[in-house]
């Protein structure tokens, strides 16, 4: 009885999560479909051809180069900060942690309007690195929290042992902490990556005309008065597939390898 109800619940959850995804795939790979039947009338690549001709390639390159840069830079900022706040007795620890969350609380439209006036003055509208920076506003808090939690879970005497055995502070971070915080770094990277990949509002506001990332590109087909589900779904496929792939990689490689020996305090 219990087994049946758990599998029933699992099936319902999977359906809720995957039904929209399934419909997206149907739209993306249909040539003729009015959305009134369960399956497309005719399958084909028409929508893909349409979006490729409209400039999908450039958006793909933009999205998938900006996201890794956002991950890289937010990691570079987060690791030292998380090391100090996560392992040292800092007086205003909680305050600093909460400061890092402010970007997530302020609505993007509010910060967007603020940044818009600054960027306009500085002539940074449509600038590639300026968009990377803007994505970092939302991505860094995730990266920081995740890496900091990893640092916090490591027994402080492990650092002391390394120091006493002859490692400088830098070598301790590289040889001891970095391998131990890898799980946090990876999950932080996943969050930061998908944040950047999915960021829409700020990129739309500050990136045009040059920086048309996938979500902004997609907006052409769903914005305004008319919706064009075929092309929009074709673009969505490029947002969904990498995310699913990352989740798969995380499941496969991270859990067993690192989490087991991560020096979690007893």
């Amino acid at each position: 009885m219990k087994r049946i109800s758990t599998s029933l619940v699992s099936i319902i959850i999977v359906l809720i999560i995957f039904f929209p995804v399934f419909v997206i795939f149907e739209w993306a790979f249909s040539t003729i479909w009015y959305g009134t039947s369960l399956f497309p009338t005719q399958l084909g690549f028409r929508s893909f051809v349409q979006v490729i001709q409209a400039g999908l390639g450039k958006s793909l390159i933009l999205s998938f180069t900006i996201a890794p840069l956002v991950v890289l830079f937010s990691a570079i900022i987060s690791i030292p900060a998380a090391y100090i706040i996560g392992t040292k007795d800092i007086k205003s620890k909680r305050l600093i942690e909460n400061l890092f969350l402010i970007p997530l609380i302020v609505p993007p439209i509010v910060s967007g309007i603020g940044i818009l006036s600054i960027y306009t003055q500085l002539g940074l509208i449509g600038n590639y690195m300026a968009i990377v920076l803007v994505h970092m506003i939302g991505a860094t808090p995730y990266m920081f929290r995740s890496v900091e939690a990893s640092f916090e879970s490591i027994d402080p005497s492990i650092e002391e042992a390394a120091r006493v055995l002859g490692a400088t502070r830098l070598r301790t971070i590289l040889k001891i902490y970095l391998p131990l915080v890898t799980p946090g770094l990876l999950s932080g990277s996943v969050f930061a990556f998908s944040w950047s990949l999915n960021e829409f509002l700020l990129t739309l506001l500050l990136g045009l005309p040059n920086i048309v990332t996938l979500p902004v590109f997609l907006y052409r087909y769903v914005g305004g008065y008319y919706i064009s589900p075929g092309p929009a779904s074709a673009i969505s496929v490029f947002l969904i597939v990498p995310s699913l792939f990352i989740v798969y990689l995380m499941e496969k490689y991270i859990k067993s390898e690192y989490v087991a020996g991560a020096g979690i305090k007893g």
Partner: protein, 350 residues
């Protein structure tokens, strides 16, 4: 192998004086123990020597060199931790090799040295195991091997056995002693376990509230404790109130108890101004048949402990003596009279 010299070292936590060491010299190759109750400042002192916390005042010299402001990695000392503090992402071999790699030894030298250490601690078959795949006792052996492998000038131990169960503790304690003899390291060892301190140490410093009360070899601190605190921290005690009646010789006195008993005793470390008390260790009390000569007493209580009997003997209105005797040597029941012979007593500061 090295000497450590500490001068006027002080560390405050807020207003609490956590450790204050006026002068201390730890000799080359010595096994030196800081012993004392919880919170007396042992760890604080050790961590200042390690460079993990910096003192508010004072100096630390190793082999004559002032290292007070050196970071831990430049002091050429290592440490064994209470919770082992092994690197969880490395196997046993790499843990032991860590200090050698930091010293830029070649992989060939490292291989030889690590296997030698693992063999010495009888864990060579564990070289490729992950840390979470070995037992607590084995983990602490890895901790010891890791600390000794780089041949540091000093090895610091902070209660390395307290996370092991009683039987294992004794086993590893014995191994530590053997190891220290073999490799002849200068060791500073922190513990609150007096048995550990007695069996391992060349000299013991007994600490209380941040201050060293007495330094001496195990025999000295046991037989001639500086005061009642030291006496009761190390071993069983009987205290008899009274005062020195007169000096018999340079190191012996006659002690008069408040009940009027006269007992000959060693003079200990007292001076004239101290308020005094007589210390009689339970094993220095011998019980005889009441017909024999000596102090007269009555058995107030008697407990069977299996192999031995614990007696409490009343020898005056205000004084009783606790003592043990083998259960095969029963001298009488409660309320019967016995003769007490005190074989050794020492006058100490209250």
């Amino acid at each position: 192998m090295s000497t450590i010299l500490i001068k006027n070292l002080k560390k405050y936590y807020g207003k609490v004086l956590a450790s204050s060491i006026e002068a201390l010299e730890i000799k080359d190759g010595e096994f030196f123990t800081l012993l004392g109750p919880s919170g007396c400042g042992k760890t604080t002192t050790l961590r200042m020597i390690a460079g993990l916390i910096s003192p508010d005042e004072g100096k630390i010299l190793i082999d004559g060199k002032d290292i007070t402001n050196f970071p831990p990695e430049r002091r050429n000392l290592t440490m064994v931790f209470q919770n082992f503090a092994l690197f969880p992402h490395m196997n046993v071999f790499d843990n032991v090799a860590f200090g050698l790699r930091m010293r830029h030894m070649t992989e060939k030298e490292i291989n030889i040295r690590v296997m030698e250490m693992l063999k010495m601690l009888r864990i060579e078959e564990l070289a490729n195991r992950r840390i979470e795949q070995i037992s607590g006792g084995q983990q602490q052996r890895v901790g010891v091997a890791r600390a000794i492998a780089p041949h540091p000038s000093v090895v610091l131990f902070d209660e390395p056995l307290s996370n092991l169960d009683a039987k294992l503790r004794e086993e590893v304690r014995y191994e530590l002693k053997e190891l220290q003899r073999k490799v002849n390291i200068t060791a500073v060892y922190v513990t609150h376990d007096q048995a550990e301190a007695m069996t391992l140490s060349d000299r013991i410093a007994i600490m209380q509230a941040g201050i060293i009360i007495q330094i001496g070899n195990p025999k000295e601190v046991y037989f001639t404790p500086a005061n009642a605190f030291v006496a009761s921290f190390i071993g069983g005690t009987n205290f008899i109130d009274g005062d020195v009646e007169k000096e018999i010789s340079q190191d012996r006195v006659l002690f008069r108890s408040n009940d009027g008993l006269l007992i000959e005793a060693r003079k200990g470390m007292i001076n004239n101004y101290d308020s005094k008390v007589l210390l009689v260790r339970p094993e220095a009390v011998e019980l005889r048949r009441s017909s024999e000569n000596g102090i007269k007493g009555t058995i107030e209580s008697k407990l069977y402990l299996g192999g031995s009997l614990e007696y409490r003997i009343r020898i005056g209105k205000n004084s009783t003596l606790k003592t043990f005797s083998p259960s095969v040597n029963d001298v009488g029941d409660v309320n019967s009279n016995v003769t007490v012979v005190i074989k050794d007593a020492v006058v100490i500061k209250r």
